[in-house]
Structures are given as C-alpha cells and as structure tokens.
Amino acid sequence: MQARSMFGILVMAMFVASAAPDAALAQQKKLVLWTHWDQNPEFNKWYAMKGQEFAKKTGYEVEVVTVPYQGYEAKYLAALMAKNGAPDMFMGMTHQWCGQYDFCDKMPADLAKMYDDNLPKYMADIGKWKGVRYGIPIEHGNFQQMYINVDMFRKAGLNPDQPPMKFTGDWIADMKKLTIADPKGGEPAQVGFAIRSKGAPVGITDKFLPFAHAFGARMLSPDLSKATGYANSPEMVAALTFFGDLVNKDKVASLSFGNPEDAFGQKRAAVIFRESWFYGWVKKNAPDVNFKVYALPCEKTCPGAGALFPWTDLVYKNSPNKQVAWEFMRFISNAKDDMEHHQLQGILPVWTANLESDYVKSRPDYQSTKAMLAQPVPPTYFHPKSNELATAFGEAVVGVLFGKGQPKALLDEAAAKMDRILKD
C-alpha cells in the first residue's frame, strides 16, 4: 500500500540525500574565495581565471563562491566560526572581521609596504586596523559624485557644463530652478534632487555624510571614541537642517519619489549623488538619460572621497592554506593585473599608477574623480561598531526628513545613543 511504498521512497531518498557533490573525485588543491558582490560577476570570475595561471606555478587553483548579499553576514560568521568549510580568502570590511572579530591574518610586511606605496592617499587606511594592514581594498570608486541630467539642466535655463559648486549658494538655487511644483499643491512633477529616504538607516547615513562633511561636521571624534559634541555639533545641526529643508522647506526633494536611482532614471529628478557604478546602471536601465558626472559641491570644506563601506579582500586566519593565499595575493598585486581586473567589470582600478590610464581617462567620471581625489581626505569611521553607530545616527536623519522632530533634539538623542553604544 502507499504507506509502505512511502517508507521505501523515504529510505531511498535519504540515501541519495546524504551524497555530497563530486566527493569521489580526487580533490584539486584550491584556494576558496568568498564574495558577496553579486552585481560584479566579471570581477569575481577574474580571480578564478588568474587562479588557472597561478595553478601552473603552485598547483593551487582559485574557486570563487558568490554569496547572496542578503544574509551574507550570517553565512560568513557561521563558516568562519566553524572553521571547517570556511573560505581561505573573503571579501568584507576590515574593521568588522579583523576588528570586531579576530578572523583575519596579518598581511606579510613586504606586501603591506607595497600597498602603502601604491594606494591613493584617501585609501591608505582602507584594509588596516589599528595601523596594521590585513586587507587589500578592491573598490576605488565607492565615494559619491554628482550626476546631473543634462537635458533637464538646459530646459531649466542652466548650463550643464558649469555645475553648482556651493551647497548654500548656487546648488540650492539650481535645485529650485529644476523643481517643477504642482500648482494644486500635490507632489511636484519634477524635483531637483533625488533624495534617499527609504531603507535601512545605515544607507541613509551614508547618503547624508557628504552634506555633513561639507558643512565641516563629523559623526565621531577623530579617535572614534566619542559622539556627543561631534554628532550633535552646531555644524552637524546646520548640515542636517539644510538637508531636512530640502524636503520640508525648499521642497526640492520629495519623500514620495521612491528609489532615488529610479527617480533619476525616469527623469523625475535632475541631480543624484551616487557612486561610480551608477553610470553603468543608467546606461543599462535608462539609456535615454543624458548625464554628466561632477565632483560634489562644497560648503565650509569639500566632502572629499569618503566611504562608509570599504570593501577589502582578506585572508582567513585559521585557513590551512593561508601562506598560499598570500602568495596568490602577491601574484595579483601589480598595476597591470589591477587594471585588467577592474576594467573587465567597468569599475575604477585601485592603484595610483592606473588612475591616469587611457581606460580611466575614457570614463565619464574621470574629471570628477580626479577633482574629488584632490580634495582633502574626509573623516572615516572604521570602527567595529560602525553599523550600529551609523544606524543610530541615521535615525536622527530620517526623523528630520519625516518631520518627526527638530534636528538639534534628534541629534542630541542620537549622539547620546551612540555614546552608549560606544561604551557598551
């Protein structure tokens, strides 16, 4: 009867289920690299490609495992804690995996020196924790730049070749000109600035920081030990007031426009601050948008090339193959490979030597990148608790945007919370 046959099926299925994939084949020696950069498949494949060459020298191939971004922290943590099944190399933020946890192997001194000599000045600290280098920065263009819609600028009577340079000066004036309000008082048909107002507070903090830095504020003290006095400094209050007014007073940005990328792509917003990957997105999803890239406007100072999420390649401390892993890192640590690697995916290379190459010069963001790199290095917040701190701070920003409170009050609250987090 069916019950018995079900039992039979069950037994058989369990038998099949316990089979591991290709376990019978002789194991090829390999290094395993984990990354969660789903959106850059060519970049990820390149490691395996180089691994083929590397195998000729050392017998070790490189296998790249792409982990979904959603939930990657849990997967990394589980594997790194269990040791078995953990990768030899992985892509993550140094201050988290090497600072909060102790999963990273120190980079050999010679390799570390090579990077110190060859990275642009604003990337000098990326990959380092407490002065020691653990990781190799892999993303160069992850600081925001200003994208403008050329056609919308022209229509508003503005010159797209002369971008606004000061937030409280020509920038806000231009935004107002680019906004087409609704005569009936509803949502505007078109806004000047595509603002990020949805999603996790960390992301919102990330998008607000250029404003904060431009106004001369910083989220934490230089030694990253205190928030009060910094996160709620008068400069920060001024920055957040300006930011909130974009939505609430000047009405050059709207909370009803959903994703800022979509708003820009649909020509409902004329200006967006986004990183260098964005122009690839625009080309693919909104090919009819005519855009130009410029450096961010300044205020008291210039925002500079800052990033909250510095992605680096790291080597697992407990990997049995860590010596070979560093060998592989050495193998690909040269200007030529750096160039090839990043050009394949259409992202900016990391080595200073490559920043004047033909490839970089041909990119639409070449001039703007140069301009931003020439600005002073903005504050960085590479602290193990950066996620939590940025979330607490982001709640104040969101509160102001949604009219839940006044900037000073919300910032005071956020600063107190951040201090509590730091002390815990």
């Binding site: 946890y101 107002s197 009803s256 709640e395 969101v398």
Partner: protein
C-alpha cells in the same frame, strides 16, 4: 518518575498501550532533539555572555537581559511587531474561513480547484520574491496600485514609505501570503464534516447562519485554534517580507523583533543580546500559545 519507569518496563496491557503511544511520538522527538537541542542550548547560553571586540566571550550573567529589556529600540520593535500581528492575524483567519466556506459551497469541482489554486499560489512563491514584487506594486510613482487608484480619483499614496501606511501595507502582504495555507486547512476540515449533521440541523429548522454557528464552527474549532496559534507565531516572527522591502524603515516604523534580532546578531555583532531577544520571543509565544490552548479549546461532542 514512577510513570516513566512503567513506560519503559510496562506491567500490564494499559502500560503497554501507553508505551506504544510514546514510541509513536519518539521519531519526531529524536529528530528534533538531534538537530536542534545542541544549537538551542548554545543559543541560550550566548544570552549570558558578552562578545568583546576581538571576538572573545565574557560571562555577564543577566547583564545582557538588563540591557536589552531596558532598551527603547527593543520595545519599539516589540510594539511594531504587536501592531503587525493585530493587523494580520484576525484578517487572515477570518478571510481564510470565509473563503473556505465559500469554496466549499461551489458545486462545480473544476472551478473550485481553479479558485482554490489561485488562493494557494502566494504560498508557492519565495517570500522574498513576493515581497519584492509587492514593493514594486506599492511604488508611489510607477507602482500599479497608485496607477489603479488614480482612475478612481485617489491621489498617489506613499504606502511603504509612509510612517502611517507602512504597517498596514506590510500586513496586506502577510495576509496575502498566508491566506491560502489556512484556507486549505479549513477546506480539508470542512469536507470532513459529515453531511448528516447539516441534515439534522436543517430538520430542526436551522437557517444557514445558525447552521454555521452551531454545526460548522464547533466542528472546526480544533482547526481554528491551530490556525490562530500558527498565524500568531508566524506573524510574530515576521522577517523576510520586511527585510526585503522596507528594512525596518521608514524611520524604524516597520522594524520587527526578528529584524532587530538579525541586525543585532549579524550587523552589530552583539550575539548575546540577540540571544536575549530570542529567549524573549520564545517565552512570549509560549505563554500566548498556552493561553490560547487553554481558553479557546472546546471539547468536540460527537
């Protein structure tokens, strides 16, 4: 203790019967124990530790409990979760019941299967994919919901991006996902109610409403309890839909307990605190389930 001894060494026929019952339950117990006991124990253990930078663990007794249970963010998340539960669970159960009753009445079997399959389809999709599609439907500017509403003259709403509308919007997604599941359970149970009961009621002059109240609902009592308990548990633990769409926004209005738990464990690296939250969830759900079980259960008279 004496009873357990008798279970292993049965003295008489009755004891043997009891042991048989226990043996039937044993595979399930063994499985759960094997897979979950160790991890559960460790997870509870974590709630008494604090992870310091560097990765080391430090025993702090009830310190983490004190910290978490006095944290405003935590209670805000609890509040959000409770609101979502109140928005989702009654609607789901009542609608599922109504739909099951309606489906049961449909004489044409082919059509009944067609409609039933449609209700069940949301359950067939990955929660994350469904949430993303709904997010897009809810999109203020180019989402189809506002598009449809514009034909009725209603101005575009912000839905997932509004402080006030975000929770009902998420509740709709939750109901949409779960309704088929409950409808199926109710439908299967409805079809097992013997026709004679309805006959007897009809003979007594009961109308449709009375038949519903005095025959159908009592017969479904066990299923209603089960569905209520399960819906409460699942909606209390809501995570995927919210994580994929609003990520707790805007401004923390949709941050649920499990979302906070996930962030605390994996983004803030405070494993001990996350375990405290897990214990809280467990205890709360256990208490509520026990109450539901106790007070809503009515014996079935044959």
């Amino acid at each position: 203790m004496h009873e357990w001894y008798r279970l292993v060494f049965p003295k008489n026929h009755l004891d043997r019967r009891k042991r048989a019952g226990f043996l039937f339950v044993l595979p399930a117990l063994l499985f759960f124990g094997f897979v979950y006991l160790l991890p559960l124990g460790q997870s509870i253990m974590y709630s008494f530790y604090k992870i310091v930078p560097g990765g080391a663990r430090e025993f702090v007794g009830l310190g983490r409990y004190e910290k978490v249970l006095t944290d405003d963010t935590f209670w805000a998340a609890v509040g959000n979760t409770v609101q979502l539960v109140f928005l989702s669970v009654p609607v789901t159960v009542v609608c599922a019941l109504a739909v099951a009753l309606g489906l049961n009445r449909i004489a044409n079997l082919k059509w009944r299967n067609v409609w039933a399959s449609m209700y069940f389809l949301p359950f067939a999709t990955s929660l994350v994919a469904a949430a993303l599609v709904w997010q897009w439907i809810y999109e203020p500017v180019y989402g189809v919901l506002n598009y449809a509403l514009s034909y009725l003259g209603i101005p575009p709403q912000r839905w997932l991006q509004s402080l006030t509308q975000v929770k009902p919007s998420i509740a709709v997604v939750s109901v949409w996902v779960r309704i088929g599941f409950d409808t199926m359970i109710f439908l299967a149970a409805l079809q097992a109610i013997p026709e004679e009961y309805y006959e007897a009621a009809r003979m007594d002059g009961a109308n449709a409403w009375q038949r519903l109240r005095y025959v159908t609902l009592p017969m479904l009592n066990a299923q209603i309890i089960m569905v209520c308990i399960l819906e409460l548990i699942f909606n209390f633990k809501v995570f995927d839909q919210v994580y994929a769409t609003t990520q707790g926004g805007p401004g923390g209005a949709s941050q649920t307990i499990i979302m906070l738990l996930y962030d605390t464990a994996f983004k803030y690296f405070r494993f001990g605190d996350a375990s405290v939250m897990a214990v809280f969830v467990f205890v709360t759900l256990m208490v509520i389930t026990l109450l539901q079980w106790r007070y809503l259960r009515k014996p079935i008279e044959y």
